[in-house]
């Protein structure tokens, strides 16, 4: 055993030790870089992949065009008719919503309540996910040139997705709900209990998150709706987060906790909406 170990060590020569030292030194230097500098280097390295993203996007467009060419005329007419009907329905609903909004504004004025602002949304495409399994982030194809800023909320029509954490020129990083870096003040619609979405409930299932810091009297039942509470500056009130997955239970620290099933499917994100301010 000893001779094997000695033999192994004797195989290492001076240049090998120098290489190890160099790599170790480089790692220490990189890990101790200021946050801003490290981000700038990441941005520069990430831009090396822009040709591949461009290639992927254009090949996707070619595939889509080829698909469009193959679709029959009758199928297109049927789809067009369906879309026309949906459009008409949505126009009626929009008219109804406009009336309700006007009524809401009148009542708010009457009671001297704060005016509600309408959401301005920007569509973005998810282009990459974090290759490391222990982080929950995605990259989207809009950046600072499109008006993106850190801390803007990101959602899908189903529910909340997360918030922007880092912005580059053409891309942005979104940290997903369930990551410990994306805490969300949440409200249970049926009971009025509030708490904080603190992190993922399971590293394997990204659709389950933990709703912590509930009051000791909170008694949540499965199926109850959870929405953003609006406390804090990041997430406006009323965005759907998900629903309670199981009965709440007390913790050793004195507050109650429950698992929440997210409404948005974070594992299959393709397009998301960024809520601009």
């Amino acid at each position: 055993m000893r001779s094997t170990a000695t033999g192994g060590l004797s195989m290492l020569k001076r240049p090998h030790y120098m290489a190890l030292g160099l790599v170790g030194l480089l790692t220490v230097i990189l890990l101790n870089l200021p946050h801003h500098t490290a981000n700038q280097i990441k941005l520069a390295l990430g831009s090396l992949y822009l040709p591949l993203f461009g290639l992927s996007k254009s090949s996707q467009q070619v595939i889509n065009k080829t698909g469009d060419a193959v679709v029959s005329r009758s199928q297109l007419l049927r789809q067009n008719e369906e879309l026309r009907q949906t459009n008409a329905l949505l126009q009626v609903r929009a008219m109804q919503a406009d009336n309700l909004q006007r009524e809401n504004e009148r009542l708010r004025q009457l009671f001297n309540w704060q005016k509600q602002t309408t959401w301005q949304l920007r569509l973005a495409r998810v282009i990459a996910r974090d290759p490391a399994n222990w982080w929950h982030t995605v990259q989207i194809d809009v950046g600072s040139r499109d008006g993106m800023k850190a801390f803007l909320p990101v959602l899908t029509p189903s529910g909340l997705v997360g918030r922007i954490s880092r912005v580059n020129l053409a891309t942005s990083e979104v940290v997903l709900v369930g990551s410990s870096e994306c805490k969300v003040a949440a409200l249970v619609r049926e009971t009025g209990d509030n708490g904080v979405i603190t992190g993922g409930a399971s590293p394997l299932d990204s659709s389950l998150v933990t709703l912590s810091f509930l009051g000791s009297s909170a008694n949540l039942k499965p199926g109850e709706k959870v929405v953003t509470w609006g406390e804090g500056e990041v997430f406006p009130k009323g965005i759907t987060i998900g629903q309670v997955a199981e009965d709440s239970h007390p913790t050793d620290l004195g507050y109650n906790e429950a698992r929440v099933k997210l409404a948005a499917d974070l594992g299959a994100l393709e397009e998301v909406w960024v809520l601009m301010r």
Binding site: G8, M11, L12, P15, H16, A19, L20, L22, V23, G24, L26, T27, I29, L30, L31, L33, A38, I41, K42, L43, L45, G46, L48, Y49, L52, S56, I127, A128, R129, D130, P131, A132, N133, W134, W135, H136, T137, Q139, S165, E173, V175, G178, S179, S180, E181, G199, G200, S202, P203, L204, D205, G267, A268
Partner: protein
Amino acid sequence: MNWLTPILILLVAYVAVYLEATFNGIRHFLGAQIDLLPALMVYAALSSELMTIMALAVLGGLWFDSFSSNPLGISILPLFLVGYLIYPRRGLILREQYYTQLVLGLLASSIVPLMTLLMLLSGREPLVVGWGTLWQWLVMAVGGGLLTPVIFRLFDGLHYALSYRPVVETSFRMDRELRRGRK
């Protein structure tokens, strides 16, 4: 020095990191993404020089971290250590054997994420770690191990397609052909 192997290794590393970030098929079904860089490092350590191992560890690690929330540079050292441990012993390793490639890939793919995770936890990074992480680690180790022989075959194919192959002369000579029968 033959530049083809280092260039190919770095090119494959560049594409591998891109695929890891954009292709989510395996992550969707198994709940974890497979990292190809440790398997590539096994190939580099058995087929190339120390400089290539360094370049792969540094560039591959930086490319990987640029897509990730990892602190910049954290993936470099675990990758390099795998190559550094294999490289001096490559004369003793039967690199052509599938079994050897599989075992080395399995070891490399289990050591690299484990070391990275330990470094992250020692830096008090806010990670979601639990029993599910064990499953993810298992998927990464087994997936990386199974893909290592594939990477060896891929490079064999690339070398076959891109390298100069000397024409092999046959022992047959026209002037020495025995002529039989009548003229």
